[in-house]
C-alpha cells in the first residue's frame, strides 16, 4: 500500500515539476506547481508529517500559488513577450539524462548508509509529526526563531507593498 502510494505520488511530483520547467506559458507552470505541491503533500503524509502536509497545502496551494497566478495575470504577457522557447528537444533529453544520473548517484551513494531506525514506527513516538509533538518542539527549543519569523513576515508584507505600489 505504502509503496504503491509512494510511486504514484513520486511520479506525480516529478512529472508536474518537469512541467513547471518545460512549459512555455507560465500559467501552465503555475498550475503544474499546484499539482506538484499536492503530490508532495501526499508524500509528506507518507512520511507521517501530517501537520507539515496540511501547512504545505494551506500556504503553497492556498496563498503562494494564488499570488503567482495573480501576478502572471496582472502582467498578462502577449504571445511574443513570452520569449522564444529555449528548451529544445535536445535540452529536454539532457534534462532527463541529468535527472536519471542524479537519481542514480544519490541511490548508489545512499544505499550503504546505515539509517538508525524508523522513528515513527519502531520507536513508537506517539503522534509523530502531529500538531502536539511538533508544537512542543517548536515552542520549547525554537521560540526565538519562531518570533523572528513573525517579524520576517511583517517585513515581507511591508516591503511587498512598498516595492509594488510605486507611489505611496
Amino acid at each position: 500500500m505504502e509503496a504503491v502510494l509512494f510511486y504514484i505520488f513520486a511520479i506525480g511530483v516529478v512529472v508536474a515539476g518537469a512541467q513547471v520547467v518545460l512549459r512555455r506559458n507560465p500559467i501552465y507552470g503555475a498550475v503544474s506547481l499546484v499539482a506538484c505541491f499536492f503530490f508532495l503533500a501526499g508524500i509528506y503524509v507518507l512520511l507521517s508529517a501530517h501537520l507539515i502536509a496540511i501547512l504545505q497545502v494551506m500556504v503553497y496551494a492556498g496563498a503562494v500559488m494564488v499570488l503567482f497566478v495573480f501576478v502572471i495575470m496582472l502582467l498578462n504577457l502577449k504571445e511574443e513577450e513570452l520569449g522564444e522557447m529555449h528548451v529544445t528537444t535536445m535540452k529536454g533529453i539532457g534534462l532527463a539524462a541529468v535527472l536519471v544520473l542524479v537519481g542514480f548517484i544519490a541511490w548508489k551513494a545512499l544505499t550503504p548508509v546505515q539509517f538508525a531506525r524508523d522513528m515513527a514506527v519502531n520507536e513508537q513516538i506517539h503522534g509523530f509529526g502531529g500538531v502536539k509533538a511538533v508544537g512542543n518542539v517548536l515552542y520549547r527549543s525554537s521560540v526565538l526563531p519562531f518570533e523572528v519569523t513573525s517579524l520576517l513576515l511583517l517585513v515581507a508584507v511591508v516591503s511587498a507593498v512598498v516595492i509594488a505600489k510605486g507611489k505611496i
Binding site: 512520511l47 500556504v59 503567482f68 541529468v98 535527472l99 545512499l110 520507536e123 509523530f128 509533538a133 518542539v137
Partner: protein
C-alpha cells in the same frame, strides 16, 4: 523495491532539486525562475522530513531532537512565503520600468 525506505525519499528530493535548479538555469521568465526556486525549497523540505523520520545517528535523542526537522520545514515554508511575496513585488516593479520579465534583460545595476 516494495518497502519504502529513507533512500527513496532522498532520491526523490535530489531529483526534485535538480529539476528546480534546471528551471533556474534554463528559463528566462522571471516568474518561472521564482517558481523553480520554490521547487528547490520543497526538495529541501522533503529531505528534512526524510531525515527527521529516519535519523542517521544511532542513538538519536527522542522526540525533541528528532522533530527538529519538522520545525526547520515550518521555518522554510514561512520564509518561502515571504520570499514569494517580495520576489513577485520586485518582478512587478521591474516590469513597470522595463515592460519585460526576461531575466537576461536585467543587466544594468541602475535604471
Amino acid at each position: 523495491m516494495m518497502t519504502i525506505g529513507p533512500v527513496h525519499y532522498l532520491v526523490l528530493g535530489a531529483i526534485l532539486f535538480t529539476l528546480g535548479a534546471a528551471g533556474v538555469v534554463l528559463r528566462r521568465n522571471a516568474v518561472v525562475v521564482l517558481m523553480s526556486v520554490e521547487l528547490m525549497l520543497n526538495a529541501v523540505n522533503l529531505t528534512f522530513l526524510a531525515f527527521s523520520r529516519f535519523p542517521l545517528v544511532q542513538n538519536a535523542p527522542m522526540q525533541g531532537g528528532i522533530l527538529q526537522g519538522h520545525v526547520a520545514v515550518f521555518f522554510v515554508i514561512a520564509t518561502a512565503a515571504a520570499e514569494a511575496a517580495v520576489g513577485l513585488a520586485i518582478i512587478i516593479a521591474v516590469f513597470r520600468s522595463r515592460t519585460s520579465i526576461n531575466v537576461d534583460e536585467f543587466d544594468s545595476l541602475k535604471f
